[in-house]
């Protein structure tokens, strides 16, 4: 049932990684570490590797992670150039127990080609002929630190509807924020009914958008994967336990592997409280850091008890 979970990964020549290996991933994986150590890049590498099931998914994943990072800079551009966004990932290689994927740009005698390798296939595309539809894989979700845009929330809400889980979604939202009575898509706009009145999601706080993004994604990602960057962004610390409970319960019910990042000690403590409370041994905290001597990045997994020990005994512990 969990055969599709990533268990080990080997990333080469991608962003901050030159040759990075990690293993031991569980159903829920929370990753902490200092700024710029590679937490998001690690999730992006996993995301690309999983999406590289065909050329459409591969190219879309390569370009979308760059688009996410460039989002603010793209506000003024109506269309973006896919090629421009995949070229910086030249020489990328990500091997996991699920897939072996790599992407290279070859330039021989003035002929430039993109070479994609995935699922034991190899596809070469002349740069001048690069023109095809790209598509996302619906059961592989990647939420950045701002949450999803309306169109993606609407798309994922349809998964909630197909599963007849609208009531469950409303219950979760109501437990999280008692002022939210109902979530609906009205006139192609996600809206929440608050104090008897429907308000567009854009009018509500970042936390509500992030929560709606996460919960609807969980339903959309059944038997798949959910990546959440800066999971606690916009979420008040007092409701973090509720958020984690939702993720623990739904990911188990729907057989989803979850990867999330955080900078917050409160978020790590909350994660640990919930994993201990639910006695969930399929969840790990991963510390990501740099070896001060070799400058190499390493990852260390902490089980429930070890994390509890370090949170209470290390004094200065902040997931660094």
């Amino acid at each position: 049932m969990t055969e599709h979970f990533i268990q080990d990964i080997h990333i080469k020549d991608f962003k901050c990684f030159t040759d990075f290996k990690a293993k031991g991933f569980a159903r829920i994986n929370l990753i902490g570490g200092k700024n710029n150590v590679g937490k998001t890049a690690f999730m992006e590498a996993c995301y690309v590797n999983l999406n590289a099931q065909d050329i459409k998914g591969f190219v879309r994943a390569l370009s979308s992670m760059k688009v996410k990072r460039e989002k603010l800079n793209l506000l003024t551009e109506l269309k973006y150039n896919t090629q421009k966004f995949i070229e910086p990932s030249d020489k990328l290689s990500v091997q996991s127990n699920i897939n072996a994927s790599s992407y290279n740009i070859e330039d021989k005698e003035g002929i430039k080609k993109y070479i994609f390798q995935f699922n034991k296939e190899s596809i070469e595309v002349n740069v001048n002929d690069f023109s095809f539809e790209i598509d996302s894989v619906p059961y592989i979700q990647f939420i950045d630190n701002f949450g999803y845009a309306n169109n993606q929330i609407i798309k994922n809400y349809s998964a909630v509807q197909k599963k007849d889980k609208e009531d469950s979604l409303n219950t979760i939202l109501n437990e999280f924020d008692s002022s939210i009575a109902v979530f609906k898509v009205i006139d192609e706009k996600p809206q929440c009914k608050i104090n008897g009145k429907y308000l567009e999601l854009t009018e509500l706080g970042d936390g509500v958008r992030h929560l709606v993004s996460i919960v609807t994604s969980l339903y959309a990602a059944e038997n798949g994967y959910l990546f959440i960057d800066e999971i606690d962004n916009g979420i008040h610390y007092s409701v973090l336990d509720e958020l984690w409970k939702i993720i623990f319960v739904l990911s188990k019910q729907l057989n989803i592997q979850v990867f999330a990042t955080t900078h917050s000690k409160e978020c790590i403590e909350s994660f640990n409280r919930v994993q201990l409370d639910l006695k969930d041994d399929q969840s790990f905290y991963f510390e990501m850091a740099k070896n001060i001597k070799t400058k190499e990045i390493f990852m260390r997994d902490l089980g429930n008890d070890q994390l509890a020990y370090e949170l209470t005994h290390q004094g200065k512990y902040r997931g660094e």
Binding site: E287, K293, Y309, E310, Q314
Partner: protein, 212 residues
Amino acid sequence: MSNLLIVESENDQYFVEALVARLNNVNIKIDSPVCLINEYECLGGISKLENKFQALKSQVLKEGIDKIGVIFDADEVGIDARSRQIQEKIDLVFGESPDIEFSIFILNVAGKGELETLLKFIKSEASPMADCLEAWQDCFSSKDKALKQKEFDKFWIQVYQRYDCCKNKEQKQAGRKCNNEVSLKDKSIYDYDRDIPELNKLKEFLIALSNH
């Protein structure tokens, strides 16, 4: 080159800090103690040492630590047995050929005991209140109650610090003026310069760790 010292409890940390302050050019980083001060389950410290070493695995890489010193109590098991227990935990977590060097020191008086046994041995002030606990212990025994020597020594030190060495004025603010940290580091109620092998060997251990 960088070193790190692991101690069992906060009191060990204060004690070592007091000693280091008396040694010239000794520079040692003391990590957070293995046990919390009120952690009942951690009595003896050894039960949490594996967790501590696991936590150190990444700290070693992040901070470039080359040598780790470990100071633990001999307790009733004695120096050799306690050293073996610690070495087993090191082997378990770091493997038998770790990239870092470990050195172990076992606090003791005549091969047994703990920090408090040593402190009782080097106390430098009159201790009428704490000494009367001997009579109290006799009374306790006559009622078929037993108190381990370890517990007794801890109790003795608390009474010594709080009642024998704390002035009346200070006792009104005992939490601030008579606590373990102040008693061990700021007051001269222990003779840290006493010429006894138990203390001398510990100083040599700290100097060696620092000079690494």
